[in-house]
C-alpha cells in the first residue's frame, strides 16, 4: 500500500522548477548548448501524431511528469540524442527509448527538488496518457524545441494540490489533444 500523500506543491513554484530542469536537461543532454528550448509563443497547434512520454513519482508527493510532442519532433529528439544526421531513419524502439529517457531525466531531476523520500517509476511512452483516477494537471509548460511544440506537464495524484491546480490552468490553454486522453482534470 502506498504511503499517504503529504506534500502540497505550489503550481507557480512547480512552473519555475520544471522550466529550469527542462532547460538544463536539453542544454546538457540534447543540444550541447543553452537556448534551444524556449517558451512557446502564439496559438497551440493540434498534435496530429502525438507522442507522450511520462514517469510517475511516488512518495510524500505523488504524480506524473509528462512530455507531449508530435511524432516528427520526437523523431528529431531521438536523432539528436543518438547523434544521427537530420535525414536518418529512427526505429520505433529508439524513438520510445529516447523520449522515455528524456522524460525520465526531467522527472528524476524534478523529483530531486521535492521534499521527502520517494521513488521514480520506469519511463513509459504512448500516444495518450493513461487515465488515472483523481489525477489533476498541476502545471503545463508549452515549450518550443527547435521551433516545434514540446509541452511538459506535471500531474498531481493528490487532492491537496487541487486548489492550486485551478490556478495553474490560468497560465494558458491546454494543449489540444485529439484523443482527449489524460485531460480529465
Amino acid at each position: 500500500m502506498n504511503a499517504p500523500v503529504t506534500t502540497v506543491l505550489d503550481a507557480s513554484v512547480v512552473h519555475d522548477q520544471v522550466s529550469a530542469v527542462a532547460q538544463e536537461v536539453f542544454a546538457a543532454m540534447v543540444d550541447g548548448d543553452a537556448g534551444l528550448l524556449l517558451p512557446w509563443e502564439g496559438e497551440l497547434p493540434v498534435l496530429a501524431e502525438p507522442v507522450v512520454a511520462w514517469v510517475d513519482l511516488h512518495g510524500d508527493w505523488a504524480g506524473r511528469l509528462a512530455l507531449r510532442t508530435g511524432a516528427p519532433t520526437a523523431n528529431a529528439l531521438a536523432r539528436a540524442l543518438l547523434g544521427l544526421p537530420d535525414e536518418a531513419e529512427v526505429s520505433h524502439a529508439d524513438l520510445v527509448d529516447a523520449c522515455g529517457e528524456v522524460a525520465n531525466v526531467v522527472g528524476g531531476n524534478f523529483k530531486s527538488l521535492l521534499p521527502g523520500p520517494g521513488t521514480l517509476g520506469l519511463p513509459q511512452v504512448g500516444d495518450v496518457l493513461p487515465q488515472t483516477p483523481g489525477a489533476l494537471r498541476l502545471q503545463e509548460l508549452p515549450l518550443a524545441w527547435r521551433g516545434q511544440l514540446l509541452a511538459v506537464e506535471v500531474w498531481s495524484f493528490g487532492a491537496q494540490d487541487a486548489p492550486r491546480a485551478a490556478v495553474a490552468t490560468h497560465d494558458g490553454p491546454a494543449i489540444p489533444d485529439q484523443h482527449g486522453g489524460g485531460d480529465h482534470a
Partner: protein, 120 residues
C-alpha cells in the same frame, strides 16, 4: 586499457554514456548490459575494471546489483549514472560501496570530476 561495463536499460542512454566517456578523454574498452541481472552475470563471467550503472532498471536495480556484487565478494569499482541525485540516494549509494554518483544530465567535465580522483 581500462575495461568498463556500462549498465542501463536505455540503449540511447548507454550510447550517450559511452560517447561522454570518449569526450571526457577515456578511451576505455566498453561493454554493455541492459539491466542489473544482466550486469551481474557479465561481472561473474568476466570482471571489468569498473562498472557504471543506472539506478532505476527493470529485472534488477543498480543498487541491488551493487549489493549483490559485494555479497558475492566482488569489490569492482562501481559508480552510478542516474537521473536522481537526491541526498538520500547519494547516501544509500555510498553506504552500499559506490565510489561516486553522476546525476543525469551530465557533461564530460562531470565525468572527469568524479573519475579522475578514482584513477589517481
Amino acid at each position: 586499457m581500462i575495461r568498463c561495463l556500462v549498465t542501463d536499460d536505455s540503449r540511447v542512454m548507454r550510447q550517450i554514456v559511452v560517447r561522454t566517456l570518449r569526450q571526457a578523454g577515456y578511451d576505455w574498452e566498453v561493454r554493455e548490459a541492459s539491466n542489473g541481472a544482466e550486469a551481474l552475470e557479465s561481472v561473474r563471467a568476466d570482471e571489468p575494471d569498473v562498472v557504471l550503472s543506472d539506478w532505476n532498471m527493470p529485472e534488477m536495480t543498480g543498487i541491488d546489483l551493487l549489493r549483490a556484487l559485494r555479497a558475492e565478494g566482488f569489490g569492482t569499482p562501481f559508480g552510478f549514472v542516474t537521473s536522481e541525485g537526491s541526498p538520500e540516494m547519494r547516501a544509500a549509494a555510498e553506504q552500499a560501496g559506490a565510489l561516486f554518483l553522476i546525476a543525469k544530465p551530465f557533461t564530460p567535465e562531470a565525468f572527469r570530476e568524479v573519475i579522475e580522483p578514482v584513477l589517481a
